[in-house]
């Protein structure tokens, strides 16, 4: 790089400045809508009404809005329900997905590719479209307004997990299965004792993708969990659409509360989230 001319040097400097300018602009636009929400969440009613939304709050330790929002939206119940849904759906999805993927990847039976295609086709059908009749089915099964019904529905409509497991199984050598079988293992033993522990990276990926999905799912939760004590985190904010319509200092506090767990998990497992996303996207 020693023989650079003056013009070349200036050109490079300009490119560097432009590069950082666009990065800062991009980050600013990404953060701004959330940041202003944070400002308003710390403002008292009076302060909120008299200052511009872009001014910083006077007191960063003013937590009244958060307390009010927490109580009004019944966030304690919401977090409890979301936790139950999360644990059961993640467990169910991992078990169902890995078992199905094991069978599809290890046994060449009639209908194997048909089943693969049935699941592939299911990815094409947008969830919102089928809810018109899923609602009727849920009604017939008596599963509306039951946490269990929502959990089953969330487990049953996941195809991404199956693809991630399928890909992972296809990278595990079949010789592992064979040597275990020679040692006297059953197929069940092969799956639970030999292969399942090896699936750990895939399980983490599935849990992250599915976890984000469950935490943020609001459409079906709103449709199937309508009674008050069945509120989940994503739907807890709905309370603010009614009588609180424009009390944004409460609303913003509520938004920040629901956003916080996502932010903490994101900061803690950035790497896994990025790689999980990349893995989940190449389902082909």
């Amino acid at each position: 790089m020693t023989g650079m001319s003056m013009a070349e040097k200036i050109k490079r400097a300009v490119i560097t400045v432009l590069k950082y300018f666009t990065l800062l602009l991009g980050a600013f636009i990404a953060v701004l809508p959330v940041a202003v929400c944070l400002f308003s969440a710390f403002k008292s009613k009076n302060e909120y009404e008299t200052t511009n939304v872009m001014t910083l709050p006077q007191n960063w330790l003013y937590f009244d809005n958060f307390i009010t929002a927490w109580k009004k939206a019944d966030m304690l119940t919401a977090f409890k329900n979301t936790f139950i849904v999360m644990v059961l759906v993640l467990f169910g999805s991992v078990m169902i997905g890995s078992m199905l993927a094991y069978v599809l990847s290890r046994f060449a039976f009639k209908g194997n590719s048909l089943i693969r295609n049935l699941f592939l086709f299911a990815t094409m059908i947008p969830g919102v479209a089928t809810q018109v009749t899923v609602y009727q089915i849920m009604h017939a099964l008596g599963l509306i307004n039951k946490l269990g019904g929502y959990i089953i529905l969330m487990m049953g409509t996941d195809v991404i997990a199956i693809y991630i497991f399928l890909q992972f199984f296809e990278s595990l050598p079949v010789s592992l299965d064979e040597s275990a079988i020679i040692d006297g293992c059953t197929y069940f033993g092969v799956f639970f004792k030999i292969l399942f522990p090896l699936l750990k990276p895939a399980i983490i990926t599935v849990m992250i993708l599915k976890g984000v999905g469950v935490y943020n799912e609001y459409y079906m939760a709103n449709l199937y969990l309508q009674s008050k004590n069945l509120v989940v985190v994503s739907t807890s904010l709905y309370i603010f659409t009614g009588p609180y319509g424009n009390q944004y200092n409460y609303i913003c506090a509520g938004v920040i509360i629901t956003l916080l767990p996502a932010l903490i998990i994101f900061i803690a497992c950035q790497k896994q989230i990025y790689s999980g996303l990349t893995m989940g996207a190449v389902k082909g």
């Binding site: 990404a30 479209a129 089928t130 089915i137 049953g156 996502a262 994101f266």
Partner: protein, 335 residues
């Protein structure tokens, strides 16, 4: 432990008669639940939807056969099929989103100060719950609030600014922009993943040859991530046709922002015109399937079907291996 499992295995073998029965048992038990769920929550609704689309009905109560009337309504009513034209706003948004994502991915794939921060900041919106996004942007676009303030700093007169969510000449752009805001980072991360998997030596060689940034992008990066870019571009078409979230959570489809799915949702769950909503869903699914077939054809022509045949190849290999295994087992048994 070992003895225990061996004991179980041999007893199991006795019960199921050497592998074959056990093979069937494992296939059936492991597939029962996923297939049941797939049937009950995906294919049964699909079939029911087809059936319902010929009836005038609510969720509860009597239904009346109306033949093709619902389909005729879908195409003639002012609020149904015509709502599809809104997809062009979201398509435009999706293209803008891909271009921005491609730019930032290229920049962030190489050494940048604070790269992790920029990447994280731009990606995080995709992890925010839709309802929260709705409130955030209602707030953001309110008269005199965030966007108006920022624009007034840039010298725009506040009075000349439109009502971002009410003015029908601009509100669909406002909504499409929120979609870009939320999902750009996700595309960016995907592209970074693809760029990172390109052989590093190529960049070094290019540097030595004195290639500038644009050439590096044009001749090395773009060709090697072409498939994922095209895939995302194509996916954005079906995504735009089924656009739902921004209008649903921000404007609830008011002031001419009701996309096809928002209208369908309203007809199904508020007006309880289940038959008409089913017909709408079937029509849109038809369009989506046509789009997907077109995509497959385009991809096949462009990339020689490398992506799709993966599972089929694996299956073929598996069959061959199983045949071999059985043959070996037979021979072993004979010997």
């Amino acid at each position: 432990m070992m003895e225990d499992s061996m004991g179980k295995a041999s007893s199991l073998k006795k019960i199921f008669g050497m592998g074959k029965g056990q093979r069937i048992l494992v296939i059936v038990t492991f597939m029962f639940l996923p297939l049941l769920l797939l049937f009950v929550f995906t294919y049964l609704p699909f079939l029911k939807m087809f059936q319902f689309s010929f009836y005038d009905m609510k969720y509860i109560g009597k239904r009346e056969w109306v033949g093709l009337q619902n389909y005729i309504d879908v195409f003639t009513r002012d609020d149904c099929f015509k709502a599809l034209k809104l997809c062009f706003y979201y398509m435009a948004g999706a293209i803008v989103q891909l271009v921005i994502a491609l730019y930032f991915a290229t920049v962030l794939s190489f050494k940048v100060k604070g790269g992790a921060f920029f990447k994280g900041a731009m990606f995080f919106p995709s992890l925010i719950c839709g309802i929260a996004v709705g409130f955030i942007f209602k707030f953001f676009y309110t008269r005199g609030f965030v966007l108006d303030t920022v624009l007034s700093w840039l010298g725009f007169a506040k009075e000349s600014l439109p009502y971002w969510l009410k003015d029908t000449s601009i509100n669909n752009f406002s909504l499409a922009a929120t979609s870009v805001w939320k999902y750009m980072g996700q595309n960016m991360v995907l592209f970074i993943g693809a760029i990172m998997s390109v052989d590093k030596e190529l960049y070094e060689a290019a540097m030595i040859d004195g290639a500038n940034a644009w050439n590096k992008f044009r001749y090395i990066i773009l060709p090697s991530i072409k498939s994922i870019v095209v895939l995302n571009l194509i996916l954005s078409i079906t995504g735009s046709i089924s656009a739902f979230e921004p209008p649903y959570v921000i404007t609830n489809g008011t002031n001419g922002t009701g996309t096809y799915f928002v209208i369908m949702d309203r007809i199904a769950h508020q007006n309880q015109k289940v038959g008409l909503a089913s017909a709408m869903a079937i029509v849109l699914l038809g369009i989506l399937i046509l789009c997907t077939i077109a995509q497959k054809v385009i991809l096949n022509v462009m990339f020689n079907d490398k992506t799709e045949s993966y599972s089929r190849k694996a299956l073929k290999k598996m069959r061959k291996e199983e045949r071999l295994k059985r043959k070996e087992a037979r021979e072993a048994a004979r010997a």
